[in-house]
């Protein structure tokens, strides 16, 4: 039985680099090996052997005749048909998509670098089936919320886990419940916005537990797996430049009325014989803006050119629009890559600058990314991935209703006088340093009453913040055997987030200064052994065994002055007149894990995979802190068994099942007392409002998914369908309980939430050739149902601001409930004898969750020209608009003017025939649209101001369908042919016109943008003083050297 030794090297056709891990088999036997890191192999073969088979994921397999050779070098090419794409799966393991029993969708990094979002999460909008992004498109540096396949946890985190090069990174969002509910505060955004699009090579979205089970608890909501660029596969030195500049302007402003100015009645009051405006009224039920000369607010300020003058009382229709400025965003990236035989590296620097549309708001971000890898010996490889991100911002706008937070837009949308000339407000300070506002108390008291000059607020009571962050990993990998590799990683992500805020002396709220500093850190130590082998031609086996130790720490130091500042505008905690408010908080959690997975392939047609993981979490009671969960999936590429066809190119069915256990936040097991402010020298502690639970168990989610992946006409048409079902039980809920129990909430294990849905991805190339048109469509519907809550409980209150947000048994998550106009059996609105609507309480309006979401991408290329257009859409979902509620209450919006059914101005007085009680033909007022209890039509006109003020008690009237379709992104550009600059050192040059959030193509809600998220938590569906949405347009230039 003679043998001979055959050796050789396998390289890639595309870039000539060595291919490690290639399977080399003697055809017809089980004898084989795997190439090493240099792509080299050595194999003893029987002398009878004639052929070697080379196979590698993503490459076309090759059979090579041996002949008499003892050295066989092979160049492998990528699988041209792309039918068997390689995707990045859990633990960063690259797998053939064909072999997966679950859905994974990828986004190439190049899709993110032309039209750039300052918060990269927004770039996912409309691109991935079943992934919903919610943001607030007017908020500089604001939050983007992301949900994959619906809401799984009643009150826990429903955001996916972000993993960059294997390192889990924090996507924390410290916005308070009130900020999320649009009741004030500033939106500082979610921490994943630190990910720099220029450094992303690829994003892989792992949607379901089957795909993510190996990541454990935190990945129950899916994983956004990001691979950053490296210097690998690029010989020599390369330099690339990417520069974008865009200009931002406000859009989707409310439709204001321009007939009546400030006040509560249509006649002017007089003061010393002169007509005056009602300066104290922050509403517009006043006199007609007919040019009558009156003493306007500024006429009382001695430094005003119109001091003491009567000036015409006229409309300024663009006063709100004129307040906003043109924003500028510029982003510049330079990246240098290089590699030698044993070492590769990439160094990238990005600078982002933004000037917001709100006066005095700016943001900047510096990102440095370094990636390096070196082969120290044949078997030992070490590497590092490190990212530094430095953010700073000034003047982030306040959000929501709270005037203390400085949201000047609340005034414009809800409490304003329509005649105000914005130019007159630009001088916001008197020579004596006092606030110079339109909302003065009276002619002889020029102090601000409710609303300060908006320029005063933005220029004097601004915030500043910064976040300095480092994340990445170092690793060492050792090839123990050709088929067995062990790797150890040390990973970290830590940052210091600092927020300083101030209220200037002389403002309406008491002057103050506060500092809020958080230190967040996560360290992971991970070990992974990977074993891959083939048994003969037709069986493959992969086994992974891993262990991870995780430690999370969080510290917060918050200080706020109390009782004012000792020296005006001395912004320092030391200036606190009374003892400052202090929060000193620290938190630590540890999770240890062991896990393993095995996958088996049969005849390259059937693939089976299974995994098992056990976690130990410090956040659960000792008796319940260890939990084990399995997953299994199967993939069947049935087209391999069919005769090859020019029509049907590929077909696969897949099925996956998984269970995931989830722990909770620390300190929910043992009860403690809540510190309160001292009373003089007496300490004060309160019985806590949350009742902890000594018997907590881990949450559990069980899911399955089924999928079909088909391609036709050599891949020109692709259709991918997925159905999934997920049931989450034993949820750890801070259950809102009746306060009469002595507690506001109690930590319990309860509930069952079901999500099921369909995801459809359709791709096609309708036109191919010199002009090519690619189209991609994704569409997803998720059905969510709260199947069960705690015993005897059918509702959990999530948030309340007039309207309540609830998890209610038998309904989808997040139903809005509140008061409404009562309706009769036929659905007609009921009106009482006074002409006012009849009120009904506790009406369920519907869920904030969308019925379906999706997006359409179109790519056109012709010679050097290219164009990408992304449209995304949402159907259904409710939200409540406080802006519209008060915008009509205070007579600002267009709805509050116009003629009534009699053809008279609705704001004219109601005139009634004293004898018949019927309205006179010249009567003003509004006839509420409805019937009396007895079914007869309402005939009683009510005063317009009373009508709109009363209408606020029926909040359903201000609750809208959040459906929209938006032109989310567009770029149109040209790649200059090399022939144009042969003598220059450039390798490629391209220039694009780029636009983001260009137009709301369709929406149902008036006056506001239905995208209203102010956080990435579970509180959604509240709009209140929304910052106007912003349209962004500009240019992108890419150059490589």
């Amino acid at each position: 039985w003679a043998q001979k030794t055959v050796s050789g090297r396998v390289t890639s056709e595309a870039d000539g680099v060595a291919l490690p891990g290639v399977n080399v088999l003697v055809k017809g036997t089980t004898a084989g090996t795997i190439t090493d890191y240099d792509g080299k192999y050595q194999l003893e073969v029987p002398s009878s052997a004639t052929t070697l088979v080379f196979s590698f994921i993503g490459m076309t397999s090759q059979e090579v005749e041996l002949g008499n050779r003892s050295v066989v070098d092979v160049v492998m090419s990528e699988d041209a048909k792309q039918l068997s794409e390689v995707v990045v799966t859990a633990l960063g393991i690259e797998r053939e998509e064909k072999a997966l029993g679950y859905a994974v969708q990828e986004i190439d990094g190049s899709a993110l670098t032309t039209v750039k979002e300052t918060n990269v999460v927004n770039s996912l909008a409309g691109r991935v089936a079943g992934v919903q992004i919610k943001g607030s498109p007017g908020n500089m540096g604001g939050s983007a919320s992301i949900n994959i396949r619906g809401i799984r946890s009643v009150s826990g985190n429903n955001q996916p886990l972000f993993i960059i090069d294997g390192t889990p990174i924090s996507n924390d969002n410290f916005n308070s419940d009130d900020t999320q509910g649009a009741d004030g505060g500033r939106d500082y955004g979610n921490a994943a916005q630190d990910i720099n699009p220029d450094d992303i090579a690829n994003i892989s979205v792992l949607k379901g537990p089957s795909a993510t089970a190996l990541y454990g608890s935190r990945a129950a909501n899916g994983v956004i797996l990001i691979t950053t660029k490296s210097g690998k596969n690029k010989k020599g030195i390369g330099v690339s430049l990417n520069s974008t500049t865009t200009f931002e302007s406000v859009m989707a402003l409310p439709e204001f009325q321009n007939e009546y100015g400030g006040g509560y009645k249509q006649e002017f009051d007089t003061y010393n014989g002169q007509p005056i405006v009602n300066y104290a009224a922050d509403e517009s039920w006043g006199p007609r803006m007919d040019g009558t000369p009156v003493r306007q607010w500024y006429s009382w300020f001695e430094d005003d050119p119109d001091y003491g003058q009567l000036t015409p009382f006229v409309a300024h229709p663009n006063n709100v629009r004129d307040f906003f400025e043109t924003g500028i965003t510029s982003s510049n990236n330079i990246a240098i890559t290089g590699s030698t035989d044993n070492t590769s590296m990439r160094l990238s620097y990005t600078r982002l600058d933004q000037k917001g549309v709100i006066p005095n708001s700016t943001m900047a971000r510096n990102t440095v990314a370094f990636s390096g890898e070196s082969k120290l010996t044949d078997k030992l490889t070490v590497g590092v991935k490190a990212n530094y991100v430095g953010n700073s911002a000034k003047g982030r706008p306040g959000t929501g209703y709270g005037a203390d937070a400085g949201n000047v837009v609340t005034s414009f949308r809800q409490w304003f006088q329509r005649q105000i000339d914005i130019d007159k407000l630009k001088n916001y300070e008197t020579p004596d340093g006092l606030d110079r506002t339109w909302n003065i108390n009276s002619p002889n008291n020029l102090d601000p009453l409710y609303w300060e000059n908006p320029y005063w607020v933005l220029n004097k009571s601004y915030e500043t913040d910064s976040r300095e962050r480092l994340f990445g990993n170092i690793y060492a990998s050792y090839q123990l055997l050709p088929s067995l590799k062990v790797t150890g990683w040390a990973r970290t992500d830590f940052y210091t987030d600092r927020r300083d805020d101030r209220i200037a002396s002389g403002s309406i709220p008491q002057d103050m200064y506060q500092e809020d500093v958080r230190q967040v850190r996560e360290d992971n130590f991970e070990f992974l052994a990977q074993y891959n082998t083939n048994f003969g031609d037709n069986f493959s086996l992969g086994v992974n065994l891993g262990a991870n130790s995780r430690r999370n720490t969080y510290q917060r130091n918050y200080n706020r002055t109390v009782g004012g500042l000792s020296v005006p505008n001395y912004f320092n905690i030391g200036a606190s007149i009374d003892r400052p408010e202090i929060t000193d908080y620290s938190e630590e959690k540890r999770v240890n894990s062991l896990y393993g997975s095995a996958n088996l392939g049969f005849y390259n047609v059937v693939f089976v995979e299974a995994s098992l993981r056990n976690d130990w979490s410090s956040s659960l009671p000792p008796e319940n802190n260890s939990y084990l969960y399995p997953s299994a999936s199967v993939s069947f590429a049935f087209s391999e068994l069919l005769p090859s066809s020019s029509v049907f190119s590929f077909g696969k069915v897949r099925a996956g099942w998984a269970q995931v256990g989830t722990d909770t936040d620390p300190y929910r097991v043992y009860n403690t007392y809540t510190p309160s402010d001292n009373y003089g020298s007496l300490p004060a502690f309160a019985q806590p409002n949350t009742l902890n639970n000594r018997d907590l168990k881990p949450e559990q989610s069980t899911s399955y998914e089924l999928g079909l992946d088909t391609r036709f006409f050599n891949g020109r048409i692709g259709l991918d369908l997925t159905y999934y079902n997920n049931i989450s039980i034993n949820q750890i809920i801070p259950l809102a309980v009746s306060g009469t129990s002595g507690y506001d909430e109690a930590i319990i294990n309860a509930g069952e939430i079901r999500n099921n849905g369909i995801e459809v991805m359709l791709s096609g190339t309708p036109i191919q050739g010199a002009f090519t048109w690619d189209i991609g469509l994704n569409w997803a519907r998720n059905r969510n149902e709260i199947v069960e809550l705690a015993d005897g409980l059918d509702n959990i209150l999530l948030y309340s601001w007039g309207v309540t947000l609830n998890a209610r048994k038998g309904e989808p998550y997040g139903v809005l409930v509140g008061d409404a106009i009562k309706r009769d059996a036929q659905g007609r609105k009921l009106v009482d004898g006074e002409g006012n609507y009849v009120r009904e309480t506790n009406k369920v309006y519907g869920s904030v969750l969308a019925d379906y979401t999706g997006g359409i991408t179109n790519t056109f290329t012709y010679k050097g020209f290219h164009m990408n257009v992304l449209i995304d859409f949402q159907k259904g979902g409710k939200f409540y608009s406080v802006s519209n509620r008060y915008g009509t209450y205070s007579g600002l919006l267009i709805e509050t003017v116009g003629n009534n059914a009699l053809g008279n101005p609705m704001r004219d007085p109601v005139l009634v025939d004293e004898d018949t009680g019927e309205p006179l033909p010249n009567s003003g007022g509004i006839l509420a649209d409805g019937v009396l209890e007895d079914g007869t039509p309402n005939t009683t006109y009510v005063d317009a101001q009373n009508y709109w003020k009363n209408l606020r008690n029926y909040r359903e009237e201000f609750t809208y369908d959040a459906s929209f379709a938006k032109l989310r992104q567009l770029n149109f550009g040209y790649t200059f042919p090399k022939s144009m600059y042969k003598s220059l050192p450039f390798q490629s040059i391209s220039l694009d016109f780029v636009g983001r959030h260009l137009a709301i193509l369709w929406k149902k809600a008036p006056n506001v943008d239905p995208e209203t998220a102010l956080g990435s938590g579970n509180i959604q569906g509240f709009e209140n003083g929304q910052l106007p949405s912003v349209r962004s347009m500009g240019f992108n230039l890419k150059v490589t050297l």
Binding site: G263, Y264, K265, N278, A280, A281, W285, N441, S442, N444, N445, D447, V562, D578, E588, K589, R590, N592, S618, S619, P622, N625, Y667, V669, Y670, T672, Y673, T674, S676, D677, Y679, G680, P683, A684, F685, A686, Q687, P688, L691, A736, V737, S738, G739, T740, S741, G742, A746, L793, N795, L797, S800, T804, N806, V817, G818, N836, N842, Q945, K949, N953
Partner: protein, 485 residues
């Protein structure tokens, strides 16, 4: 794999054990906040009986909202008191708790303060969770007890708690109201029992008489020195809540109802109760005295079109004695005790001289306000001669034929700043003759309660529905059990 995890999960930010004195301090402050701070339901209590009027946005005074939450009472001071009782009666914690006063004394004071809290809750909402309240995990959805059962239970609690007090053992520590003086707490318990007993005069006279006479024989306040006052401090966050309010806003002026009546009767308390007109930010109105001061009350419950045209400097804001940083809040005072004694005599339940007690009550009120004014540096003082003249005047003279009117009117004047009590006593006695807000919805009278929060519909539906059905509606016009038509 989980070594050290249990210790790691003990919250380092909050203590697992604290002296019960810390809970007393917090609990008293929390209850007082609900009864006196206009950021809470106290805002309704001070406006409905027409002590204060809103200068702009007169929505409360036009009765335009219905629901308010009582949760802050329960999760705040009441829960703290419940915890004090638990710690002082549970074997494992009793000894440690005794560092803050004798177990029996702590339990007694906590019970008394619970009664004070609960009676304010029931007086605002009617039927409320009581017997199953504050039990945590044992009852997340407590039943609503009828007010007719709560009142006897509260009186029973006061009787037992007063009896439990042992003045020979250490008093409670951390007590802002009486500094742990157990003799005072006994007097307070009896005086509160007198108040609750009298509250039932119309609906359950026999029960009322028993409670009133028991309380009087057990011993009640005998001078203004006994008054239960809550003292605020000069530094944040322990300042008087109206002081805080007027730092940034000017929502509350004294009503025309109040000012007109004080002027009509030439009541010398006017200068203490209200500021003269001419200033529009009350915090600036501390220049005393003003020559020929003029006082004008703010019209009550008018439309924005009407009240919006009235400027701040045209109306009187509350006086310094009610809104200085350290202006005290009266929890239960001697004059109220005397008014109750006068009424008991008038009803023939005791042998006292109703007229003399009535006059003594007015005198006690004047003296009490003199003290409050002096304490905050207000120069206005009612002189003895003014008191005598006032009592002698025809408008004030005791009318034995209509003691409800005499006592009701004078008690309402004396209970200024005690919104809950002033409102309750007006509802019980129907004096003085207050008129509903002119701009209130047609046919709507002065509110006789607040509606339950809609949150209860979500969290405790069956019991909430049952209570509404039993009381006859969740609206503002539904009457208390003791508020007989």
């Amino acid at each position: 794999c989980d070594q050290g995890f249990e210790e790691l999960n003990i919250d380092p930010n909050k203590p697992s054990e604290v002296p019960t004195s810390y809970l007393f301090t917090q609990g008293e402050r929390a209850l007082v906040t609900q009864v006196f701070d206009p950021l809470t339901v106290a805002e309704y209590a001070i406006h409905y009986p027409q002590y204060f009027s809103q200068t702009q946005y007169a929505d409360i005074t036009r009765y335009s909202t219905v629901e308010s939450s009582f949760y802050p009472f329960y999760t705040g001071g009441l829960a703290d008191m419940q915890e004090i009782i638990r710690l002082n009666t549970t074997e494992e914690t009793m000894d440690a708790a005794a560092a803050s006063g004798a177990n029996v004394n702590q339990v007694a004071v906590a019970r008394i303060l619970k009664v004070w809290g609960f009676h304010n809750v029931t007086d605002m909402w009617g039927d409320i969770p009581y017997s199953q309240a504050l039990l945590g995990r044992e009852a997340f959805s407590p039943v609503y007890d009828p007010q007719s059962e709560i009142y006897p239970a509260l009186i029973q609690e006061l009787t037992e708690a007063a009896a439990q007090i042992d003045e020979n053992q250490p008093g409670v520590v951390g007590d802002i109201i009486y500094g742990g003086d157990m003799a005072m707490w006994k007097l307070f318990a009896n005086s509160l029992k007198l108040r609750l007993g009298m509250r039932m005069s119309e609906v359950a006279p026999d029960m009322a008489k028993t409670a009133v006479t028991e309380a009087l024989s057990a011993g009640v306040f005998t001078s203004n020195d006994d008054n239960a006052m809550y003292t605020y401090l000069s530094a944040q966050p322990n300042v008087n809540p109206y002081y805080n309010h007027f730092l940034t806003r000017t929502d509350f002026a004294v009503t025309n109802t109040m000012v007109d009546m004080l002027k009509a009767m030439d009541d010398p308390r006017l200068a203490i109760y209200a500021d003269p007109i001419g200033v529009d930010v009350p915090r600036d109105a501390n220049e005393f005295p003003v020559a020929n001061p003029e006082y004008v009350g703010m019209i009550y419950g008018e439309t924005d079109a009407v009240s919006g045209s009235i400027r701040n400097q045209e109306v009187s804001f509350p006086g310094l004695a009610t809104r200085a940083a350290t202006a005290k809040s009266p929890i239960l005072v001697y004059s109220e005790v005397l008014f109750n004694q006068a009424e008991a005599a008038a009803r023939g339940w005791t042998g006292g001289d109703a007229e003399a007690l009535y006059e003594a009550a007015i005198r006690a009120s004047m003296e009490q306000w003199n003290t409050l004014a002096a304490e905050v540096g207000s120069p206005y003082q009612v002189t003895a001669a003014e008191i005598d003249a006032y009592i002698a005047s025809g408008d004030v003279a005791y009318d034995a034929a209509n003691f409800e009117k005499s006592i009701g009117t004078q008690k309402w004047l004396a209970l200024y700043m005690q919104g809950f009590e002033g409102w309750s006593e007006w509802r019980r006695l129907d004096y003085p003759d207050l008129k509903p807000a002119p701009a209130a919805p047609a046919g709507m009278g002065i509110p006789r309660r607040r509606g339950y929060t809609e949150t209860e519909n979500s969290l405790n539906k069956a019991n909430y529905d049952a209570a509404i059905a039993r009381m006859g509606g969740n609206g503002l016009s539904t009457r208390m059990w003791w508020d007989v038509e």
